[in-house]
Symmetry: C4
Subunit: 271 residues, 4 copies
């Protein structure tokens, strides 16, 4: 019997592969989804390159980024990125951390990405920077400690994305398809902005245009059309994920909501 | 029984997929064709990514961009681009609106594309700009109102293409294959022009060369050869559109010409 | 019964597809071979995109670029490029004319390509420019008249390649595999040279290095290894040409050598 | 009966194809592995493009780069690169020499590659240059003489990679997977560094970050995950190498360790 959780787990596996196929994720990077039945949990793959993720790889985590069951597999070391953002931002339903080639020059040069075409407007008027070195000094640049995750979430603030110096970017969405769309078009925008610099001075969208184009391009009919397009491209490449196995689905019942009040979540549960 | 309309509908579906496969169209963008039996109508797909368009997706529209039958499907919101240009330019048989990566840096930096190699000459001596903000202030940058479409058509004027600031480009042709050829080579030209800037100052073609190279490269034997080449590449990728279904063809008879006098069409039917 | 001519015709079809697959040729461009049994003739495909060329498309031409049999098919309009070079350069066995994306920025900016890595050395110390406008004023930029072909051949001189302003390049070789290797590595060299400009000043090879690296990289064991590699890539893409049909082979006997004395050929038969 | 040597030979063939598929190796370049049973020998393919290498192509060489059996096939002319580095660096288990497009602009412009993102840190704080012309004057730029190989090894010193002016790069690793990972991420790093220059000034990692990120990214769980990813990509492209043939395996017994004392190896056996 298919259920809501199986549906979203399959959709999350698909999102992993779409983002890999469209050049946002590669060997590394990850994408998560807030649990549809419990806002105090989130879904994320075991440690695996996103292009390979299957529904059966998807595990449940608390917002402290602890697995809800003792894991038998390797976990992503940077999952606090997800947990800390879900804590700080109750409006966020999906999170993607990546090192896409299109945004790396900006993360390396410390230059801001700004919306330069209508589809780039979904990233918002500006994208803040976060330099792990500022607060934590020399590290291996991975975001593994809760305080590092919380610091990143603070830098993200109310924005839709944050650039991480010498590392990559983290993008959030009010839904999975919205997130996928924003992540892909932010990369296209960065590419056009950089290439426009060869010709002259890139002209960003007017502030009012960013608001209007940003919201129209997150309309369900728009993100549904792009989702269909990217899925078709994945299918044409023979790279679709398998379905979730039935036994797996049976074994994993819908969890009881964890005891996090909406207010706690709004406060981001900073301890 | 195959008929002329079925033929051009299949050709239009093929043009959609060729332009997608050659990097002009992606999730967005659209290409239309004036109706072969009625210059007061045009053919355009339902709202769908061009790489997915099938003959059965193709619908008929009046030059006011209203569907000739009550639609059961989502329509492209920007179809006034097509209708308004067909009204203003009786010589135009096919229209393509796109956001190709090759031209985006020019649309973002506001720098003109000029013909720098013989195959680029089919775009003509210069390509005007149109900034939706100039006349309409803050918008979501989509061209959805008739007055926006007419404004764009005025900016296009007698040219073969128009760049749209912070948005993309619209290209026209005196035939579908001519349009496809111009759109693709304009992208190549833009790419070479931009890369030549890294080396020094791109040398545009002499005015006389633009005329001569522009016309030779629209000769039927030339556009037929490129059409064969791009079709073969699409076939090799296993991405050819299906044929039109027989019932669909039977159900949709050749329309009676709409009551638009050639003079009205020449005047562009501005109301 | 396979014969020498059938072998080279199949090899020429393969060269067409290799050069297309490796990004030197696209919808346009062509590659020819001096006839193995008659230096006064050459072999070239009918007008067709190189990626599609089959052995049965290959026709014979005199050095005046006239087909040796009345043609039933469309011919390349620019075949004088080939004939005039074979007349002027008895040492040349194969010729390729192309508009590869890698060299176009140089042809557009009028900046010289110079060998910047060992494999680029096969193009020689320098590559001259030819601007059709200098001698012929406004044209459609196609090289179609014998005097245009002869002018181009003069600009080529004793060099291995010539850049054609606002048009492309023509490359020659003392053998087909040598030509293919030179054409491909000249493109790679151009690419590296252009990208090195972003970093600083590209350092060309020393004069002595050009001579030594240029000759080692044309050794049979080297061009055989690259030929094997590019053939494998073509095979992996499922794009190999078919064999020559037996009837075709039977119908086309080895021609009697044309009456061109070696001295005439050395003089380039300029009339 | 599968054995350790067959395993590593198959792994080395796989490494050849992964590096080719990920854009590090092309028609040229080679990758070798120190013999697992005898540090005085190394394994390297016969002369063949890496994308084509099969386990049965892999031969054994002494550290003087002589084949341990009389060869019936063509050998890479530049194998002293491998032998001389294994002599000079007992800690080195795998060596790759390549001309990847990503690093060529640096080798051409003589500009250093520096780590600009965490995954690039595995190349170390700096990558020295070696200009064959400095010591050997005009050559064909191939590293074929033992003195050339030793000179290159001296330039490499204790570093993880060395750039070769107007030629390419050589990268080393303490294991095969480590080498593959370093070679691929060094290319990505070079690409991001070059593109960041279009935007402004690339910010290298802090010295402490290089150490910490460099070591975490060589952890077995990290290189295993990337190895799985790159293998999957190779499989998806249908480009996996075949297994080693059984007879071949039977015929080639594990060699007795050659008579090189560890001390001799540490001294690099310079004669």
């Amino acid at each position: 019997m298919p259920d809501k959780v199986t549906d979203v787990i399959e959709e999350l596996a698909l999102a992993n592969r779409i983002l890999a196929h469209e050049g946002v994720l590669d060997a590394f990077g990850h994408v998560s989804l807030r649990h549809p039945a419990d806002p105090g949990r989130y879904l994320l793959s075991r440690s695996r390159s996103p292009a390979l993720v299957e529904p059966d790889d998807i595990l449940e985590f608390t917002l402290d980024s602890e697995p809800t069951r003792p894991p038998k597999v390797q976990l992503y070391s940077e999952r606090v990125i997800h947990g800390c953002i879900y804590q700080a931002r109750p409006d966020v339903i999906a999170v993607c951390h990546h090192h896409a080639p299109a945004i790396m020059p900006f993360a390396v040069a410390g230059k801001p990405v700004v919306p330069v075409f209508h589809l780039g407007a979904t990233m918002g008027e500006d994208v803040p920077f976060w330099d792990q070195h500022d607060e934590f000094g020399d590290t291996n640049l991975l975001v593994v400690k809760p305080e590092e995750g919380r610091s990143l979430a603070r830098a993200l603030g109310r924005h839709s994305a944050v650039l991480m110096d010498r590392h990559g970017a983290t993008v959030v969405g009010g839904g999975l398809k919205e997130l996928v769309s924003r992540a892909i078009f932010m990369c296209q925008n960065a590419e056009y902005q950089m290439r426009a610099l060869t010709l002259g001075v890139p002209q960003p969208l007017h502030r009012g245009e960013i608001k209007l184009a940003g919201s129209i391009n997150l309309q369900p009919n728009v993100v549904t059309r792009t989702w269909e397009y990217w899925t078709m491209r994945l299918e044409a490449a023979g790279a679709m994920p398998p379905r979730r196995t039935a036994t797996k689905a049976a074994r994993r019942p819908v969890p009881k909501p964890s005891r996090v009040t909406p207010r706690e979540r709004r406060k981001g549960r900073r301890r």
